[in-house]
Amino acid sequence: MSIDSNTLFQNYFSDFRNYDEVLKSDMSINPNWERLLTNLSQVGPNNLNAKQDEVNWLMEENGVTYNVYNDPNGMHRSWGLNIVPFLIHQTEWENTIERGLQQRAELLNLILKDIYGERALIKHGIIPQEVIFAHRGFLRQCDQIQYPASKNLLIYSADLARGPDGRMWVVSDRTQAPSGMGYALENRYALNRVMPNIFQNIHLKQPSQFFHEFNQMLIDAAPQNKSNPNIVILTPGPHNETYFEHAYLASFLGYPLVMGNDLIVRNGKLWMKTLKQLKQVDVVLRRVDDVFMDPLELREDSYLGVAGLMEVVREQQVSIVNPIGSGIIENSGLIPFMNAICKYFFNEDLILPQIASWWCGQQKERDYVLNHLKDLVVKRIDRSNRENIFFCEFLDETALNKLRQEIEQTPYQFVAQEKISFSTAPNFTNGILEPRKVMCRTFAIAKQGGYSIMPGGLVRVASERENLFVSNQRGGISKDFWVVSDSPQNYIQNYSWDNASNQTISDINDLPSHTAENLYWSGRYLGRALVTARYLRMVLNRMTQEQYNNRKSESESLELLYKSITHITSTFPGFVGKGSEKRLNNPLEEIVSLMLDEKRYGSFAQTLSSFNNSYYSLRSLWSKDMWRVFDGINKQWRKFKDAENYSVIELSKVLDRIITRLIAFMGLIEESILVNQGLLLYFIGLQTEQAMMNVAKCRSLLVSNYNEQLQYEILESLLTSHESLNIYRYSYRSYLSLENVIKLILLDKDYAKSLTYQINRIKKDIDRLPYSEGSNQVSICQQKIDEAHRKMQSLNIENLLLLSSDGSIRPNLDDLLAELSDLLHNTSMAISDTYFNHSYQQTQLANQNFPIT
């Protein structure tokens, strides 16, 4: 193929300064890339732009996110996938990379075993003791632990890049809880969907078999060879940068996603708190770092792990993947000794080259480093994140001297590496291809007799053209990683293994209590958001009407409605307490605050944001449609928040749009999640909230006695906010009367928005919740809701309508609503106490507050 004729390669040459994956030094094209480039050319630059947009859109639509810490816009940042993949030919892959990774995984596994076992490597002087003992990742608590699995290192990940000699080099090892597999898989699916054409005539190795083996590895890791082990995925939570992936793998593999407080150690075993009881856990696939795993023996301030877990591991009652303590081999201090270790164990050389490294704990090496500091890259042996790497060529004299001092003070903590210029690969940017540095994350999984390597992996691209460093911490771009073969390959399968041996069909009893809690609160917040939005919209619409007809009763009723807002949303003092007169004179300001002030408890914004939080925690249950609508709500809301002036009409319009989406979303929840998956809890939360709001509305609007005109306006407002005006007209075909309104809103047995119906529904759902066997007694939540239910059964409309002696209020109605409000509140508290395990509040026996870094 001629490069000149290819517009995609315009100006690519001008950037050609070092080794490129596609362009050889004689300016010819690497033949492995030809088919891909042909396919890309056939799509054409204009279409490629469109395709890139489509990929971006798809990633956003599917909610593929990556959170960036300490960045206000960093939460739920969309994952970037470039449409031009990275590729490697099967021959190179199998002959060197795969073999090299297998060798390195086996080697690191033996090192890990040795370090926490015999320590022969230290005793025989193969590695200096400081490389291990001065590394923060060496956890003495893990010393001499025996594991049921045949290998200690079960998952291994290496970052590779192509060096100036044309070979792939190992840049770093990841052994605690490597991330990226889920993103790699999602990249492949996305590219397959958006750009099927670029796969034309190219035979790709697919990762299906690898994920099958991954699942098998988890099953095999279980102690006592259980055939049907209980496996969970432990996440630090929705704020973690790769939370998307935790949830993604949980739903892909079909295992529950749990957080530290879902688990507990009792009777020497690890248990998951579920709605019904404790359920024993056999295998934990963790995405929590080593030191956070057990606040009893490791970091005291951790709430991400489980107290007492280390001892359960020692007693071989649970397997952690990877074992706690494996962070010790994320250790750049080992690099200078790796070849000697390889010789020691295997009597062979390393297959994959590493970057030349000098450990400063040795005199000769230290002298070299201090004399050549400016040309080197310096790291601490136990800190491998970008923030802790010193690129000395960019340091000024002061910084260099400071570093020199630090090296001299604790030389054993430092390693210096040669600076290497790694290869570039074409990246599609603004309509053309440009060369960018790339880094390939590869994955290995332990299996019977060896390690299985994922064909391909995750390729990350430097965020700017000139950038030397590749990092996701800043939210970079990624690429699909192809291993291309000369012979036809299987297509990618969605779900690749036979799940027959794996009892993942769960029932409500096994629902992790933390998931249950989030579902319950999702229901409550969603209910609150909807009722609040409808109520505010009704008031806003009344305000608009008032501008046209200036009747006295109208403004009187408006004032009553303003006040009712404060009651219903519990946002005192608002329109009723201190300063209310000022607010009543300028009601719009208060209403805007009720809509927008996220810090104000009871505001619409606060409800929506609480809902977002519970909902993100449920990510593994989401369907793509749900994400789309959810994202739509958030986008709408953000756009609205950024506006400056709000008119009554605009506010009401935005509520219209959000209400529609909330309802669409509620519909999707009901069809996307099974009752046994936890939808039951969502329903209870939703109905409870709606019933509570219903009671609050009736209490603030129906208890006082008004003159006929005012009464009419109030009843109409109530029905409007309840979206029940049409149903009222259909049912009663009459002028609005208080009696009929109460019959419809409170007493109707068949109308889904009536309080009687809602309470019946809650009662039915609560009866379906699991309760401890043996205790025949009725649970407290059942007692409370039964009482509410009985009250509703025995109501007498005439009695409710009775006026007080001065004719101002209806005391019986008020009493009833007050009692119901309490009962609903107590039901909710009882559900929380019984099912959500708040009694487990973890603290240290002695508050030690050690300065651990």
């Binding site: 320590r119 230290i122 005793k123 025989h124 002087g125 200096p128 003791q129 400081e130 003992f133 001065a134 003495r140 608590q141 010393d143 150690v265 009792r266 009777n267 020497g268 606040p295 009893l296 023996e297 107290a307 007492g308 001892e311 020692r314 007693e315 604790t410 054993y412 009694s839 487990y840 509040q841 973890q842 603290t843 240290q844 026996l845 002695a846 508050n847 030690q848 507050n849 050690f850 300065p851 651990i852």
Partner: protein
């Protein structure tokens, strides 16, 4: 010398505890010059899980958990210990041990003698003794000089801490950083031990933390009060060609028969007598009573 030792720790929880996991490092070491004749650990309420294991440093670690709701926790370690320090190597009998200088000692340690690996780890930083400050370094260098005997220097360091630091149980707690202690020169045995360890490590020698007990004698003519003793801590220096030598800077002496050793570690963090995670929402109150008396 035969001792009867009891160490009682009690906790009162304001709101009770639904359950707890604990780790105790309370069992005295069985070693040359110190024999554990008998030992028992009593825990109230009775724990559901209980295990005794040896840790990385060779100490006996007891782990237990209590799964029933309780408002008090009582842990009582009782033992009979036979001490005979004459069985241990005596630095005073070792000419080379007493005379080896700092620069000779460092040279000796420099040899990549893999046999020394478990000693040399005590030169490195540890959780509570890290980023040693210039003040500590300067304090150490008053005593430690290249051509001076390590033993002499360590002995003098102990004496200086004894005379220059004020014993005051009200100014520090387990979390007070050594860098604060060196400035205010006040603290308890654990602070003094850690200051000394930081000093020794700052000149490149191995030093370790020793946790244990000391028998205190009542004032002349008075009866010894039950529970008047406390758990104690001191430091130990590795003197190349000889071995570990203990120094007690709180009492200005080289421990002999009055000191009972429970555990070795890099610092307090490795060997707290009792720690745990409880599930509770309220405050708690702790009481410790230690009693050591000659057993007859």
């Amino acid at each position: 010398m035969l001792y009867r030792l009891s160490h009682t720790t009690s906790y009162k929880y304001e709101n009770g505890v639904t359950f707890c996991h604990n780790i105790a490092t309370l069992k005295p070491k069985d070693m040359l010059g110190q024999k554990v004749v008998n030992y028992a650990l009593e825990i109230h309420p009775k724990p559901t899980d209980f295990s005794e294991k040896t840790d990385f440093f060779g100490n006996t670690i007891t782990r237990f958990s209590i799964q029933d709701y309780h408002k008090t926790l009582k842990v009582i370690a009782v033992s009979t210990i036979e001490k005979d320090h004459t069985l241990m190597p005596d630095i005073h009998q070792s000419v080379s041990g007493k005379s080896i200088t700092l620069s000779e000692g460092l040279q000796h340690l420099k040899h990549q003698d893999p046999g020394l690996w478990d000693v040399k780890q005590f030169i490195l930083e540890s959780v509570l003794i890290a980023n040693i400050s210039p003040e500590i370094r300067a304090y150490a260098e008053v005593s430690f000089q290249p051509n001076r005997s390590i033993f002499e220097a360590a002995y003098e360091l102990m004496q200086r801490i004894y005379t220059e630091f004020e014993f005051n149980p009200n100014v520090t707690n387990v979390a007070t950083p050594i860098h604060d202690v060196i400035l205010q020169k006040k603290g308890v045995c654990q602070d003094f031990a850690q200051i000394a360890i930081a000093c020794v490590r700052s000149v490149g020698l191995p030093a370790r933390y020793v946790s244990g007990y000391i028998e205190t004698l009542p004032p002349p003519g008075k009866e010894k009060l039950v529970g008047a003793d406390a758990s104690h801590a001191w430091f130990s220096v590795y003197i190349p060609t000889f071995g570990w030598v203990d120094f007690d800077p709180t009492n200005n002496q080289i421990p002999q028969n009055q000191h009972i050793i429970t555990a070795y570690g890099r610092d307090y963090y490795d060997v707290p007598p009792l720690k745990g995670v409880i599930y509770s929402s309220g405050d708690n109150k702790m009481k410790v009573a230690v009693d050591i008396r000659p057993a007859v």
